[in-house]
């Protein structure tokens, strides 16, 4: 990998969004993910190489450090922001088909439930691992999930619930989605959710943390 891509990977790993960004202090005044991506493109690096050799491995490292409790969420969010700044320059190549997303992930907190912190963490980590994420927000009914799946064939769906009373809402939504899309992959999570509940409502995968969801999707995309 070229020095430039190494530098880009470092900028993403440590959350250096652009030259003006004050964080991290050790990279103050240096080019960030935005400038480095632009430079790499100008020097002829393939967009797919920028993504596969620099951005995704950097986010993998970030995910790994987070799993090992070596960094907190803000560092991960900054890394995701840096990744976003780089992706801004790569967007036209997705549209032209020069590079491909790993897939589309549709995520929402189920109807009746307003909790969004866990959902946001999951979407951020999945986006960082190369998936296109559609975040439907909170209090999401079956109709909204179904409508979005129709518009994004082949997508994987994620659902979150934090209340015991909204677990039943999750169960209903999974059933409604299954009726329309019997083979769609559905990942669920949230404080009261268990493996047993996952089996009971015929979801495909339960993850107690965002990293588990990323790992599952990686295996799906492999």
């Amino acid at each position: 990998m070229s020095d430039l891509l190494l530098k880009l990977a470092e900028a993403v790993e440590f959350g250096k969004v652009d030259k003006n960004a004050p964080y991290p202090p050790q990279l103050k005044g240096q080019d960030g993910a935005s400038e480095l991506t632009q430079q790499a493109l100008e020097e002829g690096a393939l967009p797919s190489a920028i993504l596969q050799d620099a951005l995704i491995p950097a986010m993998d490292k970030v995910g790994q450090k987070f799993s090992e409790n070596k960094i907190f969420v803000p560092q991960m969010l900054l890394a995701a922001k840096a990744m976003g700044a780089a992706m801004f320059h790569l967007k036209p190549f997705f549209q032209s088909g020069d590079i491909k997303s790993k897939g589309t992930f549709i995520m929402g907190t189920v109807k009746g439930d307003l909790h969004d912190i866990g959902k946001n963490l999951v979407t951020m980590m999945i986006e960082g691992s190369g998936w296109t994420v559609i975040d439907l927000g909170v209090d999401v009914p079956s109709t909204k999930f179904i409508e979005t799946i129709k518009a994004n064939p082949g997508a994987v769906v994620g659902m979150s619930a934090l209340l015991t009373t909204t677990m039943t809402s999750m169960q209903d939504i999974v059933a409604d989605v299954r009726k329309e899309f019997p083979d769609i992959k559905i990942i669920i999570g949230g404080a009261p959710i268990t493996h047993d509940f996952c089996k009971q409502i015929h979801a495909d995968f339960y993850s107690p943390d965002p990293q588990g969801a990323v790992k599952y999707l990686k295996e799906l995309a492999a």
């Binding site: 907190f72 969420v73 009746g112 912190i117 963490l121 009373t165 039943t168």
Partner: protein
């Protein structure tokens, strides 16, 4: 903040079971009047709430109240509070909540009349306004069902009124994840304080009209969320500690507006409120592990007046139904505290010291809850001409306390935690004390599509 002097300024006087302004209830509790009572909180097992299940929902609440009060009676309890923290459907359709209050109140009345068991219901409706984004804090139609439940639910037997209000949460959720302390100040000390002034005026009006008790609020959605995120190692504990300390300035507004306590269980800002205002408080710790984990299991009870389990589902355990089992656990905890109180100041102080010392240096969130540090921080929290200045002074004092504990070697924190200390100090020091200046500073860096300033009177 209207308080300029602490009601309790000696850490030794900040003790469980004793509040300078105890609260007497109709069915015989004197909260803060010399003993600690259990406060049981509970919820449904996994089930939907709709017209087809409503009979079953009601049956669960009757079973919970009956089982818990019978166990309290068997254990010779001196008194119990049942906290009915409603589920969303019960506030959206207030009649559901009102009917459940009636059901539980009849059971409380039976135990009071037949057995002399002092028992009350704390009614805590949901703050439905968070269903709308951006939230219409002052003009939302959702205020109607909320206040119908406050009104009719209190008449049905909800003698203590509380809420976990959510003003400012539109900003705090992302500020928490970014460990943005300035964002948290904006969320809690600008938006939160203003919303507390609005909502608590209305709650106090209902309480006064119906002859009920305006209890208190909790910064649950802010500071407890921070604590739980820190427990999951998502954010630093030192950050969660700062959030807790500044939450005092938000939650005290309920008292300024006329709430008299008991402060709500999940508000770990309670000890500060007790020191500053003298109201009785409710706290939760080790016996709330059924609902969430925490680093303050013992120290949380050092100066509490009600001792709570936060929430437990009505499911079957080997011993019986879970709320009944938790009633027993709470009763044994409070029995110990009450025996210490009966034996006199020396025993009570010894028990308090053990409760504090067993946790104090294991986590900065525990450190700031020792009664000595509560008094020290409270003295700073009341200094200042604006709520922002109050919060700044308190937070900076808490930072000093953490740094002193680290320097003395009594507390150890990993480098990834301590690295945040200078950043937090610099950020807090940079906040102007004047609200208008602070709002002006923050607006360009906040996503203004998330909140409506006019809904906060700005």
């Amino acid at each position: 903040m209207k308080y300029k002097k602490l009601v309790i300024d000696n850490p030794q006087d900040l003790l469980f079971g004793l509040a300078p302004k105890p609260v007497k209830t109709p069915r015989g509790l004197e909260i803060g009047g010399g003993q600690v009572y259990s406060e049981l909180n509970f919820t449904l097992p996994t089930m939907s709430i709709n017209e087809n299940t409503i009979k079953e929902v009601n049956r669960h609440y009757a079973e919970i109240a009956e089982g818990a009060l019978q166990r309290a009676l068997d254990l010779e309890s001196k008194g119990v509070v049942l906290e009915f923290e409603t589920l969303l459907e019960m506030t959206k359709t207030p009649q559901i909540g009102i009917d459940i209050v009636k059901i539980m109140n009849d059971i409380c009345e039976k135990y009071y009349q037949k057995h002399g068991l002092a028992c009350e219901i704390r009614l805590t409706p949901n703050d439905l306004r968070e269903f709308e984004r951006p939230a219409l804090q002052r003009t939302s139609k959702l205020l109607e069902p909320m206040f119908e439940l406050f009104d009719k639910g209190s008449l049905a037997g909800g003698d203590l009124l509380s809420i976990e209000s959510t003003g400012g949460k539109e900003v705090s959720d992302s500020a928490l994840m970014m460990c943005d302390i300035k964002g948290m100040f904006f969320a809690m000390i600008v938006l939160g304080v203003r919303d507390m002034q609005f909502i608590w005026k209305k709650i106090v009006e209902v309480a006064e009209k119906n002859g009920k008790i305006a209890g208190g609020d909790s910064a649950c959605g802010f500071a407890n969320t921070a604590m739980v995120l820190a427990e999951k190692k998502f954010i630093p504990r030192v950050f969660a500690t700062m959030v807790r300390v500044i939450s005092v300035v938000r939650s005290i507004v309920a008292v300024e507006e006329g709430a008299i306590g008991p402060e709500k269980d999940c508000g770990y800002e309670g000890p500060f409120l007790k020191a500053i205002t003298g109201i009785p408080i409710s706290m939760e710790g080790k016996t709330a592990a059924c609902a969430h984990l925490s680093p303050i299991g013992n120290i949380a009870s050092a100066c509490t007046d009600l001792w709570s389990n936060e929430s437990v589902q009505n499911i079957k355990l080997l011993s019986g139904m879970a709320p009944t089992a938790y009633m027993e656990q709470l009763e044994y905890d409070v029995r110990l505290m009450n025996v210490a109180l009966r034996e006199g100041k020396a025993s009570a102080s010894l028990l308090k010291r053990l409760l504090e010392q067993s946790d104090i240096y294991t986590d900065p969130q525990a450190l700031v809850l020792s009664t000595e540090n509560v008094i020290r921080i409270s003295k700073k929290l009341i200094q200042g001409d604006t709520y922002i200045e109050n919060a700044k002074n308190g937070a900076l004092e808490a930072l000093d306390i953490i740094e002193e504990a680290l320097a003395s070697g009594q507390m150890k924190l990993p480098e990834m935690e301590t690295a945040y200390l200078p950043l937090l100090r610099a950020d807090i020091e940079s906040i102007p004390a004047n609200e208008s200046e602070f709002v002006e500073m923050m607006l360009p860096v906040l996503d203004q599509s998330h909140f409506i300033l006019s809904e906060y009177g700005l």
